[in-house]
Symmetry: D2
Subunit: 261 residues, 4 copies
Amino acid sequence: MKDVQNQYDERNISLNEVGIKDLVYPIEIKDAEGNWIPTRATISASVGLGPHQKGTHMSRFVEVIQDNDRQVDIRNIRNLLKTMQDHLEAENSFLDLKFDYFVHKTSPVTNNESLINVGVEVQAALLGNDLQFQVTVATPVTTLCPCSKEISDYSAHNQRALVTITADTHKFIPFEKYVEISEQSASSPLYTLLKRPDEKYVTEYAYDHPKFVEDVCREVKQRMDVLPGIRSYSIQVESQESIHNHQAYARVIGHPGEENH
Amino acid sequence: MKDVQNQYDERNISLNEVGIKDLVYPIEIKDAEGNWIPTRATISASVGLGPHQKGTHMSRFVEVIQDNDRQVDIRNIRNLLKTMQDHLEAENSFLDLKFDYFVHKTSPVTNNESLINVGVEVQAALLGNDLQFQVTVATPVTTLCPCSKEISDYSAHNQRALVTITADTHKFIPFEKYVEISEQSASSPLYTLLKRPDEKYVTEYAYDHPKFVEDVCREVKQRMDVLPGIRSYSIQVESQESIHNHQAYARVIGHPGEENH
Amino acid sequence: MKDVQNQYDERNISLNEVGIKDLVYPIEIKDAEGNWIPTRATISASVGLGPHQKGTHMSRFVEVIQDNDRQVDIRNIRNLLKTMQDHLEAENSFLDLKFDYFVHKTSPVTNNESLINVGVEVQAALLGNDLQFQVTVATPVTTLCPCSKEISDYSAHNQRALVTITADTHKFIPFEKYVEISEQSASSPLYTLLKRPDEKYVTEYAYDHPKFVEDVCREVKQRMDVLPGIRSYSIQVESQESIHNHQAYARVIGHPGEENH
Amino acid sequence: MKDVQNQYDERNISLNEVGIKDLVYPIEIKDAEGNWIPTRATISASVGLGPHQKGTHMSRFVEVIQDNDRQVDIRNIRNLLKTMQDHLEAENSFLDLKFDYFVHKTSPVTNNESLINVGVEVQAALLGNDLQFQVTVATPVTTLCPCSKEISDYSAHNQRALVTITADTHKFIPFEKYVEISEQSASSPLYTLLKRPDEKYVTEYAYDHPKFVEDVCREVKQRMDVLPGIRSYSIQVESQESIHNHQAYARVIGHPGEENH
């Protein structure tokens, strides 16, 4: 059978990426402690395409992902990207994994345990021999408005907010670290399971820690700036305003660079 | 050219609905005061299919919608459904329109004007000569937790919530009426534009009107039960809990029936 | 601490459902062969609320789900609903689980193995002692247009389509059964991994089995009508038309009832 | 009342953006011919925040958008961004508008007219006095697989695909231009209204113009490289494979730069 993809392409145009997108697949992620965590990821996988090759062989991406029992060791993602380069005969390879990650939470007074979901995206690229590695962790938190607290005789509007940190790192930093930084910088963490004494605690705690999205953004930045191993980051905080039908948001980027690690 | 859709189908199976779905189209909706309001609707249109007809003629749905300059008079939707029956040679016709609707809001202290978006869905069917007409209006509001207020020394968690009323009605009731009922039953309405004196007002107002989703649901029910023209309804209230990463919700259905109008 | 939820409510209004919604949680589902399959579900859990109880205790739903190591045996869901009734002191309980399910596929010529994701929703209710149980399986397939094939000198437009079967059943029917029925009724199944001989096969197979959404809907109905254990069903087929920017769809409901099992 | 937002912030951290997000609002867009087109946009508006200002005044963004009867002249967006700088006392301002845009289509044989929706995003920034202006247009098209055509005795799999062009431009280029380029580069355009002779035409036309996502991407690039006024662009093509449950995609970026205009 004719290999149409391998035909000579006259147009002399290289493509940055060709591959598959939005493949929903069950995989296992190796966490910071070496355990394989089962999850369901939405996956994009691609390679660069040379100027004279008509197309890539899409089925090979699925083969690479299926190998090794569908286990992805984030700390060792270079190997997976190298396999993609070899299998697809390409100089550059790209992998993007999106999944829910679950973090253990203990309620602040009654010590009830539960899990909370945070959104994670891992974007990795192997350009020749150069590994680029970027992680996004989106942590839900509470914000309580300092202006509302200041001007009102009592109470203050508060709401769920989302802290999204994207970091380009030298090495793998556990997802839990980004969650911890996000929660410490907010008016309060969220919990999946709270009994009444816990609810009293978080209500008063948030009122004692009023924060604009601007405040949360600045505090996350302060914590990211002293975290070893970060090349650059983007921080976005979105507050699902309880008094509006739109979000308030703040965003800052930073480049702590090479000196920190 | 052969009309495949008109072929005789041996299987003797009628279908409840065949048509088009998720057509995104610019239309104008005639509002309660007779004005044509431009909007962008997501449209499904269908008819019943007889037991021996192989298929329907999908392009005719688009033709019907385009007629009359894409204007849809909700009060007169029977005519549009009748046109669909005629054009598609069917006994039953169905039309589903989803769109954002914008309601005028005046801030409570400084009287600043703005618009707020509410989600509307109109589902209408003409079964032979019998018109069925159902409206859904999803209004964003604030809920403030009575338990959190009661047990905490100060403050209370609050958040954006969504009140969704679906009503099967004898006649057209302006969308604004459902919005009004939803807002009156909540801890506070939302506003798109609030200055500081307004923000103080809504913060304190919500604290003075603590409501569980259960409370909001019951209050909406009380108001729906005395609204003329309602055959039946479903009320759902979802609170985007500021202390959790999941929603609290309550739901009730009712059948005030024929006696109210 | 005061138990606000347990206060007497004067309004004398029962609510059909109160509970939590959109809880994203890692659970394990027991499949047809008795294996525990890890997945990530979006969960709603609720109970009915009596006319004089102010509110329900939302945290108990999380406790119930966490019990038994977050394992949900679909065949034994009555037990879980009973536990919810007991824990929440309610007469009626409701559980809704949405998750991706993965089905093994073997490519038709080269016999390459892979997994394909189908969308599953399980909705169960225990009303007093009466169990209601409903399953929805959404299977992606190919449809190839019989009209386009008939009128064109060559080729025919084809596209991805989604067959969604919702069934109210007397007993648990493996999800794979709904997938099999959907695929048999379409122009072709989909595959995650196809090599060139497979691609030739599925291209020609689809051309040899042209189907309108109407045809797919009728064939699924024929297969559901002879499947033992079905009380009633709804079948919807949506085709993401490759020549339009909207969907074609067909829908039929049926009540094979008690006589089939 | 105390102006908390105006307080002195000790942390000495500037923020790139603070503002509002996901405001759903009815606005009018001035099109290429000077007509005001009503639409419903999802809007983000923000400004940079200095190192010692605690917060921005979120309500002013809504005021700016409401001014001038909510009309946005894309060709004159600099004025709107300047107003935001002035109103918010900021050096940088940002505006992001997302909306459905509707393009007139005439069916290829019977000349039936209809509209098709394309997704548009306008992202503009005024950094001091320097305007940055970026447009994204996502056009739905058909792709028909050259490999499937080549290896099969008859037919070929085809499907809806999405061509997304993002361009940083020196001047406003009508959205219709991006749609035209996308459609010319695909196996076939899509249409909202096709009669049978049209359906025959597009079926055969697509078979006569088989294209991988790689081909579409390269052809769009060739057309973008000779379009005057483009500073840089990103082109992404996603094909909703009719034989898979995932997408095939290709992406290329380019910098035709200053010499073309």
